[in-house]
């Protein structure tokens, strides 16, 4: 098979992995260097950033995960790269500035350790023979041996083991060959190695990025909407992963139908659901929100009409307006329409004596949202300050795009989890209202301390 054909097959097979980040490493080599902030080199027609050459080493797989285009039972063209072939492509693409490096994953075509060793071989050739200093993200295959993992961490900037689904129950139904505990075990092994590499201390900033072993840390991905798990399950799981195994990122990938398997929903979730999960994730990682604050009062799913920060603000109107002339950093970040840049500029303007209501639009705030929640020296921005009532405020803050249905846009409210084709999601129970009932003691969640009072 020609290289071009292989590349097309193995790139198409890898495109379901959402991550393409190249940030977090300061590695340098004879040929190239990682860029700590990451660089996007292209944007494909689906609007995604291409930073790395993201391919599978092979799309042959022994496993049969129902949601995966590469599953053993799928009738798709199969291909595999030779080591030399892939190394040559990476070096050429890198020199031409098409990519920052390589994201290498693979189907499980042999024993996990063998598969990972083959991936290591590619990375080893790049690092040792080519002096490659660009970014390498390697997929860690649960079941691979300690020595193989140890070498992978030295070769790669980032490692990732995909958690795939939010609960062990969903894994048992949709990916019966996979073991949630083995996946979490792999994450713990990676975290342990990173800890060793930092003398047992969780360092931040430059000390973290300059480590030799997986300097950009580890990430994971989970498929959203293939199982009937709620946003609560997902957000709680993500919070536990950040806390327990110190992931740098959790990626969410809206399930895309790849087969007519009755265990799967007949229609994809709206992309809006994926978007809201990323917004919630951002609040947890960057703005000091706890996962419990994201979904309160027993809500199972994120509000499709509002971004999670606005939704939180509307549930806590008693905490507003925030007086910008006095509020500390953490409080500023809780205001809808104020991000880290806006908060920094507010603090700087305060120090320089230049903060006024009139100055707010020049500070980089999203005034459309922020105006309803702030005062400066007791004054509200023009047009705000009166009691609009919750429904009106809600309508003003809504950022829901025009409804187009399916993965293209937003499905009608209430239709987001329902199997519109009448499927049953196999053994996973889907109540008539579309909101699943998940037992509290799911083994995967227990493995991460969820349900033990740790959330």
């Amino acid at each position: 098979m020609e290289t071009a054909e292989k590349l097309a097959i193995l790139a198409a097979s890898a495109r379901y992995d959402a991550s393409c980040a190249s940030s977090g490493s300061t590695r340098r080599g004879a040929l190239g260097a990682a860029s700590v902030g990451g660089v996007c080199h292209a944007w494909t027609e689906d609007g995604r950033c291409v930073s790395l050459l993201k391919v599978l080493l092979s799309n042959r797989c022994r496993y049969d995960c129902a949601y995966c285009a590469n599953r053993a039972s799928a009738e798709v063209p199969r291909a595999a790269f030779e080591t030399d072939e892939l190394v040559r492509i990476v070096v050429s693409f890198y020199r031409r500035n098409y990519i920052e490096g390589l994201f290498l994953s693979s189907g499980v075509f042999a024993e996990p350790d063998t598969v990972m060793e083959r991936m290591n071989e590619v990375a080893r050739r790049l690092r040792r023979d080519e002096g490659f200093g660009g970014y390498i993200h390697l997929k860690a295959i649960p079941g691979a041996g300690e020595r193989t993992l140890a070498e992978a961490g030295f070769l790669a900037d980032r490692l990732s083991a995909n958690i795939e689904l939010p609960t062990a129950r969903a894994l048992a139904v949709l990916a019966p060959d996979k073991d949630g505990r083995a996946i979490v075990g792999m994450m713990r092994a990676i975290d342990g190695r990173i800890l060793e590499d930092t003398d047992g201390r969780h360092r931040s900033g430059a000390a973290r990025r300059n480590r030799a072993w997986a300097p950009a840390g580890q990430s994971t991905q989970l498929v959203v909407g293939a199982s009937p798990d709620s946003d609560r399950e997902i957000v709680t799981l993500a919070g536990a992963l950040y806390r327990e195994v110190r992931l740098r990122r959790v990626y969410y990938s809206a399930y895309l139908p790849v087969s007519a398997d009755p265990r799967l929903p007949g229609s994809p979730p709206p992309l809006l659901r994926e978007h809201r999960l990323y917004q919630a994730d951002w609040l947890v990682r960057r703005y000091g929100f706890s996962t419990g604050e994201i979904l309160e009062d027993g809500a199972e799913n994120l509000d499709p009409e509002l971004d999670p920060k606005s939704a939180w603000a509307l549930r806590h109107l008693d905490r507003f307006p925030v007086e910008l002339a006095k509020a500390p950093w953490e409080e500023l970040l809780r205001v809808p329409g104020i991000g880290a840049t806006g908060a920094r500029r507010i603090l700087e303007s305060r120090r320089a004596g230049g903060l006024s209501v009139e100055a707010l639009p020049s500070l980089g705030l999203v005034m459309k949202r922020a105006r309803w929640f702030v005062t400066v020296h007791g004054r509200a921005p023009a047009g705000a300050g009166k009691d609009l009532g919750l429904p009106r405020l809600r309508a003003l803050l809504s950022d829901r795009p025009a409804t187009r249905g399916g993965v293209d846009g937003t499905a009608p409210a209430g239709g987001t989890r329902r199997d519109e084709a009448g499927g049953t999601h196999g053994a996973v129970p889907v109540p008539a209202d579309g909101i699943p009932t998940v037992p509290a003691a799911d083994p995967l969640q227990l493995e991460l301390g969820i349900g033990k009072g740790a959330a």
């Binding site: 590349l7 097309a8 292209a42 944007w43 609007g47 492509i89 895309l256 230049g354």
Partner: protein, 309 residues
């Protein structure tokens, strides 16, 4: 009316700031021109230029360590904001960091907007430059940025080219609009200089210093089509044709074909969102991007500007 003029380069800009700081006053207007005789403004005396420029940087560094970088970025803006830079420099000299942090001040806003625009385009082009092999072992990328960026881009990209048996690999970034080339020459030195077109850039990158070993390995030697400058508005595109060598070049680069194959396969058609793609890669960058150039470019499909329809 007090008008100061400078020729638009870094030395002139910083000398002007030095003069304003020394005089403690701001001119009514600033012009960028090398024809002071036509403009009638006052220029910094060339004998004092270097001293004034270095003094200005030190003085502003002491006022606020963030200031020199911010002003230098603003200087690179395609639409100059020199007067705002001068007024901000005077305010910084007078008030220290407070002047930098008064985000609502009109001069601070203008300088920040200019510096942010330059930063944004730099980050975009970090990824969106596409290098092609030219003249033996050298690599060249062309662009037409809104702002003055090629030297920054060359410094950032230098590690990407590494070395071969003949030494550090030469490369260049050519700003077709400003006719400026920055990169690393065959003598291993980083440079920025005027350069009129792709052909001149290719020979600059190929020229070997006296006494250097002759012909390097011939790998990837074939020159490949690089676009000439976009036509200025209103000239019907006559000045911006694809260079003749490119037009006649039938052989395509197999790795460019591979990249296009990858680019297409990596996109998920079910999630197609061309509007988002357009936002990230505006049309004006696309003519320099391999992935937006058709795989085959028969001569009759050539757009006058060198674009392929």
């Amino acid at each position: 009316m007090n008008v100061l003029v400078h020729d638009g380069d870094a030395a002139g800009f910083w000398a002007l700031i030095g003069l304003a700081l020394e005089e403690g006053s701001c001119p009514d207007s600033v012009a960028r021109t090398d024809r002071q005789d036509l403009f009638g403004g006052r220029a910094v005396p060339s004998a004092r230029s270097a001293l004034l420029a270095s003094r200005a940087r030190v003085r502003l560094e002491l006022a606020d360590h963030r200031a020199p970088d911010e002003l230098e970025l603003a200087r690179r803006r395609g639409r100059p904001v020199d007067l705002a830079c001068l007024r901000l420099a005077l305010a910084l000299d007078r008030d220290g960091p407070d002047a930098f942090d008064r985000h609502a001040d009109p001069d601070r806003r203008a300088v920040r907007a200019a510096a942010d625009a330059v930063r944004r385009e730099f980050h975009r082009l970090e990824g969106l430059l596409r290098f092609k092999p030219v003249s033996g072992r050298a690599w060249l990328a062309t662009c037409e940025p809104d702002n003055e960026l090629v030297d920054l881009l060359a410094a950032h990209l230098a590690p990407r080219f590494g070395s071969d048996s003949a030494g550090p690999v030469p490369f260049g970034v050519l700003d077709l609009g400003r006719c400026a080339l920055a990169g690393r020459g065959p003598d291993s030195r980083i440079f920025t200089e005027a350069c009129r077109d792709v052909e001149a850039a290719a020979s600059r990158l190929a020229a070997r210093p006296a006494g250097a070993p002759s012909a390097p390995p011939a790998a990837e030697r074939a020159p490949l089509p690089l676009p000439a400058r976009s036509s200025p508005r209103g000239d019907g595109g006559a000045s911006g044709r694809m260079d003749p060598e490119a037009r006649n070049h039938e052989d395509r680069d197999p790795d460019e074909e591979l990249w296009r194959a990858y680019f297409e396969a990596a996109s998920n058609p079910v999630r197609a969102n061309p509007e988002l793609q357009r936002r990230f890669v505006p049309e004006r960058y696309r003519r320099h991007l391999t992935e937006f150039q058709a795989a085959r470019a028969p001569r009759d499909e050539m757009h006058p500007r060198g674009e392929v329809r």
